[in-house]
């Protein structure tokens, strides 16, 4: 697959997935060259940029590392073999419009990546035998609640995007505050009351540190829940090309659910 266009030498347009599972980018061609010289990236690693439908090995795009010292403007302005002046100017104008859209799409991606992640959480959790039974969002906090179709246990998730601006996400990566909760019916009102009392104590925690487990009870439904606060890097699960690493996401949610279930059963059952 050919590249949709050759990005400028210093244009941040390239995304690289290394054989070690690392996701790098967006990188410029010059930064890619530096990473290859440092041995962080090899030609066997895969790259993607806006306009491509699939990742390709870097060995299939040698032009990315060619003419790095040639001034960008000169390369862009030179006519291609057999190209008329009219076509050349149209190509340059088309390139400017396309770059503008790429720029806009980078901004949009940074602002809605949390919702892409939310959709991935829904898909991943449904695939493990749950139904979505609650969904609420105020644009900042996204809340989901699922019920297991077999044992009626419940899973809740709150996702809060912490790096919605492109500039911040480029520096820190795509970070989110993720709260995962697990709930079961405990079958005894006194245990639900115990959980509600524990929730009252939890209320003194204004901002829980990561790894803090809190509990709550829902008198209306007889469910007792426990939850844990964490920070997750959304970029680990959602690629710039919108591909989702479902195996990793399912594993991480599953391990968290497992730990919370063990805690809840140890405490209330």
């Amino acid at each position: 697959m050919p590249l949709p266009r050759l990005p400028g030498v210093d244009e941040l347009a390239l995304h690289v997935h290394t054989s070690g599972g690392q996701q790098l980018g967006p990188l410029s061609r010059r930064a890619l060259d530096d990473a290859m010289k440092a041995g962080d990236v090899t030609t066997a690693d895969h790259m993607w940029m806006q306009g491509m439908t699939d990742w390709i090995p870097l060995s299939d795009a040698p032009e990315l590392l060619e003419d790095l010292d040639a001034p960008d403007a000169a390369a862009e302005m030179a006519a291609l073999p057999g190209e008329s002046d009219d076509d050349r100017q149209d190509r340059i104008f088309g390139g400017l419009v396309q770059k503008s859209w790429d720029y806009l799409e980078d901004h949009e991606f940074a602002s809605h990546v949390d919702e892409v992640f939310l959709g991935a959480v829904i898909t991943s959790t449904l695939d493990t035998g749950h139904s979505l039974i609650d969904l609420s969002s105020n644009g900042t906090h996204h809340n989901l609640r699922f019920q297991n179709d077999d044992d009626q246990s419940r899973l809740i998730a709150r996702v809060t995007h912490m790096t919605p601006s492109m500039a911040v996400s480029k520096v820190l990566g795509q970070r989110a505050s993720v709260v995962i909760g697990y709930g079961e019916k405990v079958g005894s009102i006194s245990k639900v009351m115990g959980a509600v009392r524990a929730e009252f104590q939890s209320g003194f925690l204004q901002n829980a540190d990561p790894g803090t487990i809190t509990v709550d009870g829902d008198m209306a439904t007889g469910y007792v829940y426990c939850q844990v606060d964490m920070y997750w890097n959304i970029g680990e699960y959602v690629g710039r090309d919108y591909r989702i690493d479902y195996p990793k996401l399912t594993t991480h949610i599953g391990a968290t659910r497992h730990a919370l279930r063990k805690y809840l059963r140890g405490r209330f059952k």
Binding site: T53, V97, Q98, W101, H112, E115, V116, L118, G119, A120, I122, T123, L126, D127, S131, L132, I133, D134, L135, S136, S137, H141, H142, N143, R145, F146, Q147, D149, I156, R158, V179, G181, E199, S202, G203, L205, Q206, A208, T214, V215, D216, D218, A220, T221, Y225, Q227, V238, D241, Y242, I244
Partner: protein, 176 residues
């Protein structure tokens, strides 16, 4: 601390969550078609999810709006089932627009003044850079939720069919 529970409607019965269950199934069905969700709007009456179509050469995004019509109460569910209106809008986006698009936009708006997106019909809406095609259909929620893989496959087939119809209408509006 545990504000999450307060943020939910806390439905006591699964019947009251059928909208959300269908929304979840729609998100999963669209993910199977490589259309990730990029925005969620949810309130008591209707829910809308926007999907990106990153590998589609024609479509830019798809909106799915779910409006529950019957089955919110136990009696209506028993008598009528749980029916919902599914409104689907596909969007084509052109990288360049010019005054001709402005003229076309008004022409489409004039043609649409008296037109409702009736069941099965397709309504076009022309903005400067975007052209939207919308259709809607009534579905029985129970056909698609808690049916396992069969329900998901049925939903994928329904959404693919509707997307194909909208695609046909939008194709002439995509600039090269």
């Amino acid at each position: 601390m545990f504000g999450i529970l307060q943020s939910f409607n806390n439905q006591a019965e699964m019947r009251e969550s059928k909208d959300e269950m269908l929304v979840g199934e729609i998100v999963r069905a669209m993910a199977r078609r490589n259309h990730p969700a990029i925005s969620f709007l949810a309130n008591n009456d209707w829910q809308r999810v926007r999907f990106k179509t990153p590998t589609d050469p024609l479509l830019f995004s798809i909106f799915v709006t779910l409006d529950r019509k019957t089955g919110t109460g136990m009696l209506t569910e028993a008598l009528l089932g749980s029916k919902a209106t599914l409104r689907i809008t596909a969007e084509v986006k052109n990288r360049l627009s010019d005054p001709d698009d402005l003229i076309n936009m008004y022409k489409t708006d004039l043609a649409n003044i008296m037109k409702m997106p009736m069941l099965g019909g397709i309504k076009l809406n022309h903005q400067m850079n975007s052209v939207f095609a919308t259709t809607q259909t009534v579905i029985e929620i129970g056909d698609y939720v808690q049916k396992g893989d069969a329900g998901t496959e049925k939903l994928v087939a329904l959404l693919s069919k509707i997307e194909g119809q909208l695609r046909e209408k939008l194709e002439p509006y995509k600039k090269g």
